[in-house]
């Protein structure tokens, strides 16, 4: 399995991570190594059903009742930035 430096850049973009050129080369080497290791899953011909989860659970519901929740102050306690009763984040929508 070949991984190019462009592949690494694309994965980094999807992962919301940035690397400098040196780190990209390092990551490329690491990923090749890890993917080579991961290729072992193809060592056996296994055509069983894929299982995301080991438990035979379906649709776990609970009653929809109003319960005590965090206060506004508590919810904002760890906010890097807040204003009045809101989280303050960088502008998301582009200007016209």
């Amino acid at each position: 399995m070949q991984i190019s430096s462009d592949d690494v850049k694309r994965l980094a973009e999807l992962s919301r991570l940035a690397f400098n050129e040196e780190e990209i080369a390092q990551m490329q080497e690491n990923l090749v190594d890890m993917i080579q290791y991961a290729d072992r899953v193809n060592a056996t011909a296994c055509d069983m059903q894929a299982k995301e989860h080991i438990l035979p659970l379906h649709n776990v519901f609970r009653e929809d009742v109003v319960q005590e929740s965090l206060s506004n102050d508590e919810a904002l306690k760890n906010a890097p930035e807040s204003e009045e009763m809101y989280f303050k984040v960088p502008q998301v929508m582009e200007d016209e």
Binding site: M34, T44, Q49
Partner: protein, 493 residues
């Protein structure tokens, strides 16, 4: 023996007899932290002495009033730093969360508060629980109490080293692919990963949600049973939580005659000389106790670890997407919102975490999903199927916990996957959701502890506890303690 080196069940009995106070236990544990924390490490946050003593004082008041809450009441313990503790910093050993103070409690912590346990501190770990030597901690350090030049194992390295060195009487760790059992093995203590769904995960910061499970690290399997009785409880805040009636400590017994133990000889053969000898001796011991050995031959040994790294990295890449610097944690501003995400994450995550996120993103990306992620999930079904078949023939599966004993800290690895070699026997229990224990079964020639792994069928915790209990009745490996500096002044009990 110092109080801080005693097992929980013994301290609990002494508290009931009123021959010691909870404050005396807490004082001795604090004293040991003073002696060992500079060399062994193991904590990210240690609570204020005043706070710890107040908590112990409350136990003493309850005991005086004849209202002790549980066998844990008054016992000092540590929590892995991925479990949310209201008002106490919870970091996952990451720079990204170095300022994060939860506003709610993990359910497991809530249970230990209700039981009257005395929280001493938050234990060090590999960042976001990714690692097997505790060398990926961004905020603290942890070394092996048996030889501080060596690693403690990971990712619950702090939870393990603090207990092994008497800086806590017991601890909780989390186990995604061996993260309780591996450090327990390296540090010569007892570690237990319950059946997936047995212990609530609410408030435990997720690594790989379909594999993560919280469990105890203790000095004795009796302690394990006591702690499990407090934390194996249904929680409506965890949609995977199971409803199980438990009375593990009460039902503990050492009559294991006629139990059938499955052994895949190729796993024993794969270990170093000392480990192999110790595990073979343990098998003989079980035979002497009337157990029957059943030969197993798993066809998943080759694929299992690869499947584990694919599944866990995929889930991690998704779980860790939430760390974006918007509502909590550290934020590193950029020119726009996307730049801020990228700056925050690139600054905050360490190299191993970034590698796993990148790997997870790769196996989930279009074009590779079927070849890797879906294939790993099929292998998961195969592994579960193999264990179902094995448990038709035997009551538990025995193997070494690790291939080798604790190695030198700071060892340079040529490939990141070399570190994954420590994990070759443990992830199968996570993949199949099964309960598994690591118990001390000997020492290597260099004095480092060796661990024995026992895997049980789903919800058969009691079987594993009884097997381990019977073994610990016949052996004394779990009674050995590493020599701590500053030892031997007083406190003979």
């Amino acid at each position: 023996m110092r109080l801080c080196d005693m097992p929980l069940y013994q301290l609990s009995a002494m508290l009931d007899e009123k021959s010691i106070s909870a404050k005396e236990i807490a004082q001795d544990v604090m004293k040991r932290i003073g002696e060992a924390n500079a060399t062994v490490g193991g904590y990210i946050t240690i609570l204020d002495e005043k706070e710890i003593m107040e908590s112990a004082q409350k136990t003493d008041e309850r005991i005086a009033a004849g209202a002790r809450r549980s066998k844990i009441d008054g016992i000092p313990y540590a929590l892995k730093d991925n479990m949310c503790t209201k008002g106490i910093r919870t970091t996952c050993s990451s720079k990204l969360l170095e300022n994060f103070v939860p506003v709610y409690n993990a359910t497991v912590y809530e249970h230990l508060i209700n039981a009257g346990g005395v929280l001493v501190g938050k234990a060090d770990m590999d960042e976001f629980a990714m690692g097997s030597a505790n060398e990926n901690s961004a905020l603290s350090f942890t070394r092996n109490p048996w030889d501080t030049k060596k690693v403690a194992g990971g990712s619950s390295g702090g939870s393990s080293a603090t207990v092994a060195s008497g800086q806590a009487v017991f601890s909780l760790g989390s186990d995604t692919g061996g993260s309780i059992r591996l450090p327990a093995s390296f540090c010569g203590i007892t570690g237990f990963k319950p059946t997936y769904s047995a212990v609530p995960r609410y408030g435990v910061i997720a690594f790989a949600s379909s594999l993560d499970q919280v469990g105890p690290l203790t000095k004795d399997i009796r302690d394990t049973a006591i702690v499990l009785d407090e934390i194996v409880k249904y929680d409506d805040k965890d949609s995977t939580s199971a409803k199980i009636a438990t009375n593990y400590a009460q039902n503990l017994n050492n009559n294991i005659k006629g139990m059938r133990i499955g052994v895949d000889a190729s796993l024993v053969e794969a270990t170093d000389e000392d480990t192999k000898a110790a595990v073979l001796t343990a098998i003989e011991k079980f035979k002497e106790m009337g157990c029957k050995i059943v030969d197993l031959s798993f066809n998943h040994n080759e694929i299992m670890v690869a499947a584990y790294y694919i599944i866990s990295s995929a889930e991690a890449s998704s779980n860790l997407a939430r760390f974006d610097g918007m509502t909590y944690g550290v934020r590193r501003e950029g020119e726009n919102v996307i730049d801020t995400y990228v700056n925050t994450r690139s600054w905050g995550f360490g190299p191993e975490v970034k590698r796993r996120i990148m790997m997870g993103t790769f196996v989930l990306s279009s074009g590779y999903y079927d070849a890797y992620y879906k294939k790993a999930l099929q292998d998961r079904t195969l592994i579960k199927h193999n264990f179902d078949a094995a448990f038709e023939l035997c009551d538990c599966v025995l193997s070494p916990t690790t291939i080798f004993t604790a190695y030198d800290a700071g060892k340079k690895l040529e490939h990141p996957t070399d570190a994954y070699m420590s994990d070759v026997f443990t992830p199968m229990a996570n993949i199949a959701g099964l309960p598994a224990a690591s118990i001390p079964c000997g020492f290597a020639k260099n004095g480092m502890p060796i661990g024995l792994q026992l895997i049980g069928n789903s919800y058969q915790e009691q079987t594993l506890l009884n097997m381990a209990y019977a073994y610990q009745q016949e052996t004394d490996f779990h009674l050995q303690r590493p020599k701590m500096t500053g030892e031997g002044e007083k406190d003979e009990v």
